[in-house]
């Protein structure tokens, strides 16, 4: 793959490694893999400048299937390895692939700090609400009452919302998409890659073996229109088959409400317009859930700030400028020294 000179000639094949993909047949991970292999060349990405870093879990096998650089690390630590890599070479385009267990349970601490530091990484969290690789235990995102080998009578832990966690951690780019939505996913990946700083993307990913159709309520074709809301910056937050339903703010309750345009005296002007720079709105949107509300998808929050590695590099450059020609020899000879004569 050394011969590629002009970026536009790359195709999905150039991003596929020669390794046989070993996820379960029908796993949502295939769709995400295909989508990325297809999208990256469209974004002018170079395989040699791209690195996929993962932790442990089904999703974390991802790097082996990409013909880019890759590092399959240890459970939960991918954000930390990726941070060191980015510090060593800020020019690399680094993608972190993690899951709900890897990224929010064992690696929750690293996720929090990586997001608040705003390291320029594209973090894809495959949320399937289950531990797949260890054969189906409930995860930190499993809904209350999930029956699993380790919770035969139903889980009794309240789940964490990945996007809410990310916003709370200070993430400056938070987006959400669905594994089966081959039209929507690329748009989100594109935005994530363009965003300089930590980009957090939650992907609803179906585990066909241990947690099949856990998102079926809003991902099946019939329900999609009524229970999915695709948020677009600057446009009204509308959904429904005829885009007749919308979100409005109940100012008395400081809460979102679903209205139908043209009913009860409500007009399009009552529908909230999506502002992706508004963290309060983002926090309200990500916490909506069926059946009363649709699930929001798309770029929910984007407010860029200087990325961590940029600040690190800048600070060092400024100090080198102030103290040029650093010499260890000179440093050690500064201060109180004395000469012993022969």
């Amino acid at each position: 793959m050394t011969e590629h000179v002009s970026p536009e000639k790359l195709t999905a094949k150039d991003f596929a490694s020669d390794q046989e993909v070993r996820w379960c047949p029908g796993c949502g991970d295939y769709a995400i893999l295909k989508c990325l292999q297809r999208t990256l060349p469209e974004l002018g990405t170079r395989p040699e400048n791209t690195v996929f870093v993962s932790g442990i879990g089904c999703s974390s096998r991802f790097p082996y299937y990409m013909a880019t650089y890759g590092f399959h690390t240890i459970h939960g630590r991918a954000p930390s390895v990726a941070t060191g890599l980015k510090l060593a070479n800020p020019d690399l385009d680094i993608w972190v692939v993690t899951g709900d267990g890897d990224g929010l349970s064992i690696g929750g601490n690293h996720m929090l700090h990586t997001l608040r530091r705003n390291v320029d990484l594209n973090i894809l969290l495959f949320n399937n609400e289950i531990y797949g690789l260890t054969k189906g235990q409930y995860s930190p995102t499993s809904h209350l009452g999930t029956r699993s080998p380790s919770s035969p009578f139903g889980s009794i832990e309240r789940p964490v919302s990945p996007c809410s966690f990310a916003l709370g951690s200070g993430a400056r780019f938070v987006a959400r998409t669905i594994d089966t939505d081959q039209k929507h996913m690329p748009t989100v990946f594109k935005r994530a890659k363009e965003h300089k700083g930590a980009s957090f993307v939650e992907i609803f990913q179906n585990c066909i073996v241990f947690n099949d159709a856990v998102f079926g309520e809003f991902t099946n074709r019939e329900a999609a229109a009524d229970l999915q809301l695709h948020a677009v910056h600057g446009e009204p937050l509308l959904f429904g088959k005829e885009r007749e339903k919308g979100l409005t703010l109940n100012r008395d309750k400081l809460a979102l409400e679903v209205i139908t345009v043209g009913q009860g005296g409500k007009t399009i002007d009552d529908v909230l317009v999506h502002d992706e720079t508004n963290p309060i709105l983002a926090q309200m949107l990500v916490n909506m859930a069926p059946p009363d509300f649709p699930v929001v998808l798309g770029v929910l929050f984007c407010q860029p700030a200087e990325s961590f590695e940029t600040s690190v590099t800048k600070q060092i450059a400024a100090i080198i400028k102030k103290k040029p020609g650093a010499s260890l020899d000179r440093l050690m000879r500064q201060g109180r020294t004395w000469e012993v004569k022969a």
Partner: protein, 629 residues
């Protein structure tokens, strides 16, 4: 260098000449004893004496005032002879309060000198220290020479013109005491005055008050009558190799060694660390060396710290992480990742008392098992140790060299004592150290995907390919990889082979390190005393003294703990007996037995205090009964 007495002190010609002196400064955590000690050290070093120090402080930042558990001490041994330890028994104890006296008096040699601040011997302070009666009034101090001085009120008097509050004014009493000690041992005030001026440049009134206190203490010695029991001592300069010297702590030399090592390897240094006692000073020092392009990353925890370093090494930089025992425990899984992905990494362990949180500010050598054996799976890595503050510089460079050349994590064991202690150090000529630039794969050879596990047949090290290089795209990870292709492999024969190759690579380092030398004594004989790490000083002094008495005993100091030097087994088997003093319960003893089926006599101490020379001398005597020639 011969001008031992400050100008103006010429009238005191009755110096008592001493070869060496041990002083222990002890006071409350807030009394500034570490500062007093380190300034006395600077002035002593500038006078050309050899020296070793032992800062001995509590884990609490500010324990309740006046209590015994809040006592902070600084011991210095200096002399005109070769000094390798902070001294067995202090000759002089400076006790700034009753608690300091209570805690430290037991260390003082019989007949030694006690200097006490009577101003701090109030009824309340006596009670807090646990004294029922005032030790200055009963026979507690009968076996010692005592100088009672109301340092508190003399300090207040000395700084009164600066209009400080009583509390602030009293903070200068350490400087008053230091002034007296400088006079007593004929050391210069000038470097300390300069230091005070620069430290308090923005608060001149504080600088001036401290200088006034320092001068007042000095003047007190000068003008006091001999009948007060105050004498002066002369300790000449030590005969040391010619060259330019400075005092250094092990943390400083470690930080500099890493910077030097990275430069010699032609790599960017990325240091990932998390604060922990006693390792944090390395993080602080490197954070202040950004003009060298050093990247320091204060991670959210120990695991993120090492993982960031591993990520940096994957990216073609030199990843380094540093911690102490409990933090190293947290890093363990990631060390395994670096071993199996064969990435260069330096892991520094500033050992402290364990297990668990243990004794954070006290020294132990009890992480040797952890370093050599402490990982899941077959996971060998090179283990190096440092023996003194100055030594850290060279061992850090060596750790970098081995990590890069063999594509492996290297564990570097130092300890809290070495990290904090100071010694005079002859500055090395860095440009005379041979560079060992890292080499990176340039282009792909062969068909199919690039194989990152191609090996150098001589070192067995794998090839290092930097992300960003076209054509060398590859994936590594914690799963076992094929010897042939570098892809994931669950093949049983392959795992056997890869395990053996990784082990052979580390074992092969024995061909790339110096043969084991005898530090002192003969290449064979009755008894070898074998040590590693910071016990070098007391062992060497003990062996030296016993040899002077005619005993057939030699000192062997092991720097390379895994793999051992090639000739070590043969060398050790040339002695009738091998004794291993360690600040643990026998970890090197186990390792020597494990590797060489060697019978060894352990000598163990885990009290948090360094070995005394005397301890080792009597153990030598016991094992060589009647063998003195």
């Amino acid at each position: 260098m011969n001008e031992m007495s400050p100008k103006g002190a010429q009238k005191h010609l009755d110096f008592e000449k001493l070869e060496s002196v041990v002083i222990r400064f002890a006071g409350d955590s807030g009394d500034g004893m570490q500062l007093t000690g380190s300034q006395f050290t600077s002035s002593t070093a500038l006078a050309g004496s050899d020296l070793a120090t032992f800062p001995d402080f509590p884990a609490e930042i500010r324990a309740p005032v006046g209590t015994t558990f809040g006592v902070s001490a600084f011991q210095i041994n200096f002399g005109s002879t070769r000094i390798l330890t902070a001294g067995d028994d202090p000759d002089v104890l400076v006790a700034m309060n009753p608690a300091a006296l209570m805690v430290s008096l037991g260390y003082l040699r019989e007949g030694g000198l006690v200097v006490v601040d009577t101003g701090a011997f109030s009824k309340r302070n006596l009670q807090k220290a646990g004294y029922e009666d005032n030790p200055l009034e009963d026979d507690t101090l009968a076996k010692f020479q005592v100088i009672e001085l109301d340092i508190s009120s003399m300090t207040l008097e000395a700084v009164k013109e600066f209009g400080l509050s009583k509390k602030d004014a009293l903070r200068s009493k350490n400087m008053w005491t230091l002034g007296l000690m400088l006079w007593m041992f004929g050391r210069e005030r000038k470097p300390i005055i300069e230091w005070l001026k620069s430290k308090f440049a923005k608060k001149p009134e504080i600088a001036n008050a401290n200088i006034a206190a320092l001068n007042a203490g000095h003047a007190f010695g000068e003008t006091s009558e001999m009948s007060s029991g105050i004498k002066r001592y002369q300790i000449g300069p030590a005969k040391t190799e010619p060259g330019l010297y400075r005092t250094v702590t092990g943390s400083e030399t470690m930080a500099w060694g890493l910077v030097a090592g990275a430069k010699l390897a032609d790599l960017k240094l990325v240091f990932g660390s998390y604060p922990i006692t006693p390792a944090s000073p390395i993080l602080h020092l490197l954070s202040n060396l950004k003009e060298f392009g050093v990247i320091t990353f204060q991670a959210e925890d120990e695991i993120a710290a090492i993982c960031s370093a591993i990520g940096a090494s994957f990216g073609g930089a030199l990843g380094v992480t540093s911690s102490s025992g409990p933090g190293i425990a947290l890093k363990t899984e990631a060390i395994g990742l670096a071993i199996t992905t064969e990435l260069p990494l330096v892991i520094i362990n500033s050992q402290r008392g364990g297990p668990s949180t243990g004794l954070p500010t006290k020294t132990e050598q009890s992480d040797l098992y952890q370093a050599v054996y402490g990982r899941n799976g077959e996971a060998p890595l090179p283990v190096l140790s440092t023996c003194s503050p100055g030594d850290c510089f060279f061992v850090a460079i060596e750790a970098v060299r081995l990590a890069v050349k063999y594509m492996t994590p290297v564990m570097l064991l130092t300890d809290g004592y070495i990290a904090n202690a100071a010694e005079p150090w002859k500055l090395p000529e860095i440009d005379k150290i041979k560079p060992f630039p890292a080499s990176f794969a340039k282009e792909k050879t062969g068909d199919g995907d690039f194989n990152p596990f191609q090996r150098d047949p001589a070192t067995l090290a794998r090839i290092w390919a930097k992300p960003g290089t076209p054509g060398l795209e590859h994936r590594i990870g914690g799963l076992e990889k094929s010897f042939e292709t570098g892809h994931i492999s669950y093949d049983d024969d392959n795992h056997q082979k890869m395990t053996e190759v990784r082990a052979a690579k580390i074992q092969g380092i024995e061909n790339d390190i110096p043969e084991q030398k005898v530090a002192l004594g003969n290449g064979k004989g009755e008894l070898a005393v074998v040590g590693w790490g910071s016990t070098f000083g007391p062992i060497d002094q003990a062996v030296s003294r016993m040899r002077a008495k005619g005993f057939d005993v030699s000192h062997i100091h092991i720097r390379y703990l895994n793999p051992f030097p090639k000739n070590l087994e043969k060398l050790l088997k040339g002695y009738k007996k091998v004794m291993v003093p360690e600040m643990n319960m026998g970890q090197l003893s186990t390792l020597l037995k494990d590797r060489f089926l060697l019978e060894v006599i352990p000598l163990n101490k885990v009290s948090g205090q360094p070995f005394k020379i005397r301890d080792i001398m009597s153990a030598i005597q016991k094992n060589l009964k009647g063998r003195s020639s």
